[in-house]
Amino acid sequence: MQQPRPFTLIAELSYRCPLHCPYCSNPVDIGAEKYRRELETEHWIRTFHEGRALGVLQLALSGGEPMLRRDLVELCAASRDAGLYSSLITAGTHFTRERAEALKSAGLDHVQISVQSPNAEENDRIAGNRSFEKKIAAARVAKELDFPLTINCVLHRQNLDRVEEVLDLALDLGAQRLELANTQYYGWAVANQQALMPTWEQLRRAEEAVERFRERVGPKIDVLWVLPDFYEDLPKPCMGGWGRTAIVVAPNGEVLPCQAASTIPGLEFANVREHPLEWIWNESDAFTRFRGTEWMQEPCRSCPLGRQEADFGGCRCQALRLTGDAAATDPVCRFSPHHDRVVAARESAQTDEFVYRAIKRPVRA
């Protein structure tokens, strides 16, 4: 069978980060010894070239906080040299004019800045540090240097009622794109699920606000809004299908089919220090385990809707979390015998207390 070709490489340059978002999708063991040995500059550069040779066109420089890497300018130049389109995915607190100019001349293509809330005080409370003003300054610098700008805001029960303000903020900052990312429950978000889970009413009102905004403002700004999938009854093709479109490289060089795959026990992740990316994509255990449809169990195997190649059975990590078996049908699917667990998860929110993402315990802002 013809192997699919990857399109996106997500380079998680470092898990270090000055913020403490309670919804952070990074692994909960970011402080672990194995993540402290970060890849060297040469490893990343080789990985970019090997990614391009496999078909990758889009490079996301992410983390943790990618701006904490001292070789970031060099990495942007290497990305351009390899023929990739690069996006910096940053919380913005280190995106000063001086550094931004250096990144621009090195060939960085696009800047995405996340805000925790459009309200300064709430932003700083959710982030667990004072960062709002710096983010706004960063967005203005990105515009002045003529970067295309995306604003990202992760949504949950504690900020969903401010979607209208998020939309206006993105417009005011001159963003080209706005990603309204409803929280996905992996990493730290699992520990905080009770404090993050929105009500159906909140989601419905937010969706209406998005509709009104699109009508009023038109195509000037591209607003991405996706309903969280626990309100659906057919799953999405997670990451465009396992091992089909995306490659994630963790700070220590381990290569994953998605950011959350490290939670799946028994999966072996090959490392770019030891193997060429081509072998990892084509042959490694982690990429081949759930690629295609061969691995599927019932009800996917004899899906009544024939959707095997449309959704690839949904999300493996969600299947694991809700059924204990990573090879089960994603329980979001109405044909899953565990669909009732997704329905139960819709019962909203029971606390407003956060557990903050931290390597050590953070000092509260």
């Binding site: 496999l54 066109l57 389109y85 996006s87 293509d109 995405q112 003529d146 970067f147 295309p148 080209q176």
Partner: protein, 87 residues
Amino acid sequence: MTRPRLATGARLGYDEVRKEHVLLVPEGAVRLNRTAAEVLELCDGQRSVDEIVGALSERYDGADLRDDVRGLVEAMAQKGLVVDAAA
């Protein structure tokens, strides 16, 4: 559309792996045939649409490409990939 140019952040490239021209944009890529790539290359914010048509028909032995060029530029503008430098 007086003087079309690529939208901020859009960049033309050639994908050696898939052997096709692409327009790279934040988080995406639009596949282009050769003619489309040639037209977009001429969308530099200096030339008018008529000048682009002129430059291209010279390359193609005087063929009348007016409708093709206009159609393509309009379609790309609708998707926000091409903007008017004069606006």
